[in-house]
Symmetry: D3
Subunit: 242 residues, 6 copies
């Protein structure tokens, strides 16, 4: 496979770093790096559920996403100052929430809410996939702390989950796009997969020309390989062998 | 294939109706029905472009989406009264805009903006896919009117575009889900395709259990068949043979 | 009387059409047309009352109004996207609510709320008067459905109610102004009246020159005639003889 | 005529006081009292016009209205803190603006805007009619100051304008309702009239039972008498004989 | 000491006027004037406490601040129309609330809230210090009315509180700056003090050059003198000897 | 002096760490730690000035402040999601901006704006003083980069600036309060000082009992000592000897 500007192979991830216990207050707190992309992911336990889950006896999990104004090449407006979250922000935080809910047994969580916060402190492409991958580790830590305190009998987690971006740049399918690749990319796809290799989300968009079924297949192959490697990194960080 | 509650085959669309010139002011105005789902799609020409396109000399196209409060089983809040659009609304209108921009040559449009408005007056599943499919016809009419007035030398449309939902309900892959199917569905996917059978968007979500590569493949097959039939319906409504 | 651009007599209404059961989910759903002005009016029953009515044991009724962005000659901003309803919108929806509350016995409604939604899909003058006239039929249908289900012993409606605009154009008092008349009009008045010929609202505004008592009297005569004809149309649509 | 709780005759105004030059910065600044209702009305000259008037070469005039939170019996929320103006506030400020624009020649105003601010410091019914009546005097002062500075050749005011409320309380038509009357009132009407006795606005609402043409006529008689007396008070305050 | 533009000595206050019972509905209502600065201060009793005080059994006190749009030299936007309070407004109303809470025994207030509203009707510098000084008198009246009605056994007020601005203008420390002094001032300080001469708030800001410890000391001396005089004026207005 | 829970002396700072070039995009990027309080401070150069500075030819500098939702013991709402910044946030960011503007020569900056962003990733008391102290280093780096690129002839910085909190806890004046001290503290003061030992801001608040002039003097002594030590740390981090 041809090398990229960074020297990476087309099917190689950027270096992944997972730093647990990054800040001290949250029940789960992880700094994840996909190369130069860095995201603080925290999972906070709140002993309360939203109205629509109250009758169920079970819990809820929701996610929010943000970027520091100067996480990017040029400064973007602070969403708190503008008074509203962009459509892009809302789309991403809805995606993170759905991805994590796919592997957590909310009914076994008891009447509590897990709040996931993913805050990008440095952006270089792939912030949403790094957020999902880091948030899983933070959620694992937060839920383990509930088990350790005797508040839950067992970890209500059905499987691991991780996400990666893939795309076609200058006709070549690439794994884990950085910003310079992402901005030249014809087709961009974010894929969320479980430890069992099943799909949770597939979101592919033709930015320029539409893509063929064969290209789609090749991108899904790359994504499977990438998420498997990310889940291995999560296992190692958590000390949970496969 | 097993029949559904509605008696439809698993790979059958609901009856599609496209009513052009539905309202009188818009340059393009279409009422589209996918069964009981009904959406008014208008395309409005405005002789102005947003700041970021000004230097280009070309045009722009953007979409907005809304639902009448009682388009649904129970009344939902009016977004104008609540003072903000939901994340779901923003996600859908961003999707519609991307889908249509994939087939319109904005550089050939001249310094004008096409505003697409998709307003759901009755909802029974598939409102976003009906919106995209109907909006294409409205855009075609609006751009044809510019050609007819001599404002454009030729139609700046590269291909047709249509969208359909597919999903796995009780283990069975189904085409074009209605509301009752959508609400019981394990995996839900919206697919946007061109007349040439290429993909513009693939958005698949596991609502409950994650899905396998084989299931994904089967859903993509159904979606290809469905969008081809929708594009045939667009051609017939517009009187444009393939 | 002199004919108008449309050929109508000065004291003639535009053709009125009332289509009941226009959409399927709402308890009352009516498409009303005053000529080219078309409004979808729905009445939704919600088994809950606002705080300030809770102690009373009775019900409440409230109205919201909107226009599709391209209901008008040139596209107007979507209020949901702008994040607030205009003063004009609020004024109109407050008027609709007051007009309907004047003829419905809220105390006899039980602890439920009727939400009226009037959404203009095509505008050619008189959208607020068409909304009131159509909303009455939708409310009648919604309340009749409660009687039919045994939830109310009898229809809590004291009288019919309808509304019409009148105005002075080029010195001539006219009934039921269309958009071209409305925009050239010196004095514009909206009048809401009951089946008994009593006044519920009189809202007259001198857009240019102030108007005399004699002119006001002539406009009120026209409005009485117009609302009587509209109430006859409501009766016919509902199959309720006078 | 029967006396009211206050001892006033049914056709009597409350004592009217107009204090010019009430605050020092505004070009026109008037404290108006209708009995216990007190409103500060200022007219501010700004050398700029809104976009839609720019091509015309003429000016613009607009009004805003507010109430101090404890102007009323019980404290109401501060609109600035809630982050939006109520529908009632918007309705009133639109009414004030239209009423004043009816007598000011905006084309003769030059490229400047008059901002009218009506702030209720104590409320006892009739705040919108007091606002219009006081605002006219403030506008007269502000425009006179432009004439005095040589910025305008003559006062661009076509006539005086004033407003009063009338209503039917316990079956008796009354002029200039105070709060206790207003809250028991079956029909409530605000009438804006010129010095020539012509109507600018008639806004009548049946709060409870609908009203007859005869009652409407009686209320209009009272309103004519009331506005004539208010215009006499304006003339006296301004030292402008009829 | 050198005289100022106004002829005042450097350590002299502007004339202070306190008008109690300025409006009729509020439990406490005071018009305070510091020279040409005029503020209406009301204290409203509401028989309810915010959530976070509910368990305590005690009460709460909070303040809001506003300016009429034309209280100033040039008209400023109405915050209610803009839809948000400025940072300056929020800073001031937080300051007023803290200042008053320092001398009122909230635990002895019972489960009720005092709402303080300070509305500037004419501004000439020192609006926040006039607000605090006037609000104390309004609060004293409101609490006295509760004692008079037997709702409180004794006045839950520990001490008087007043505020004044001091600053360095052209190198000279001055007491109670008016607008023209404030806008030329290098250092600006607002000081809130009790009847016992203790500090509640010290807020000093170098607008241009930083200030020395000696200058700070001199400003604190002036502020002590000024607040003592203001508290004497409060005592006189309330008829409460020291 | 008595030791504190942490073992620190009453007049001792917590360990201060300044990490320059913490993120890669901003012209200045600093992670500052005051003990467990950690703030990312960036300074971004934008080649544009706000309207009110355009005529001057000079530049502008402004600051924004935020906290990650789980920077604190319990999760707080995300301000971007709530749609507005709290009064506290606005107060802090206004303070940071004023503090930095006191030592930067905006006229010498040319027509560009420095945007300071202070984002708290972990909070343990003193976030606003850490923000100011770290922001100075970020601004120094950003301005140095402009000098290095030849865009400025010399560094437009007149002096260093740093900030520290002081307070009285259980009667003892303490320097640099951590969260547990801050929450038990009777008087809380934030002091901003220059390298020359002059005051830029003094903000002291009695949370419980008012404080005496002697206590104020003692707190100012502690603050002078603390800011001098912080400025020494800034000098060391920047490699700029005194």
């Amino acid at each position: 496979m041809p090398a990229r500007a960074s020297g990476r192979a087309a099917d190689a991830l950027r270096p992944v770093r997972l730093t647990r216990h990054f800040t001290k207050h949250a029940e789960g707190s992880v700094l994840i790096a996909f190369g130069d992309t860095q995201v603080i992911c925290t999972a906070s336990v709140v002993e309360r559920v939203p109205e629509f889950r109250r009758a169920s006896g079970g819990g809820w999990m929701t996610a929010e996403y943000g970027m520091l104004p100067r996480a990017t090449h040029t400064r973007s407006d602070r969403e708190a100052a503008r008074g509203k979250q962009s459509g892009r922000t809302q789309e991403i935080q809805r995606l993170i929430g759905r991805a994590l809910r796919a592997v957590v047994d909310l009914d076994a969580l008891g009447p509590r809410t897990l709040h996931i916060d993913c805050d990008v402190i440095q952006a270089d492409g792939g912030t949403r996939t790094a957020s999902i991958t880091g948030a899983f580790v933070a959620v694992h830590d937060a839920l383990s702390s509930l088990v350790a305190k005797g508040l839950l009998p067992r970890l209500p987690i059905a499987d691991f989950v991780a996400a990666v971006s893939v795309g076609i740049v200058d006709g070549v399918p690439l794994l884990d796009l950085d910003y310079s690749e992402d901005s030249r990319c014809g087709t961009d796809m974010n894929v969320v997969m479980t430890g069992a290799g099943q799909f949770v989300e597939v979101q592919g968009t033709a930015e320029g020309v539409a893509f063929s079924r064969a290209e789609l297949d090749r991108l899904l192959d790359l994504a499977s390989r990438g998420t498997a490697a990310l889940i291995a990194a999560q296992r190692q960080a958590l000390g949970v062998p496969a």
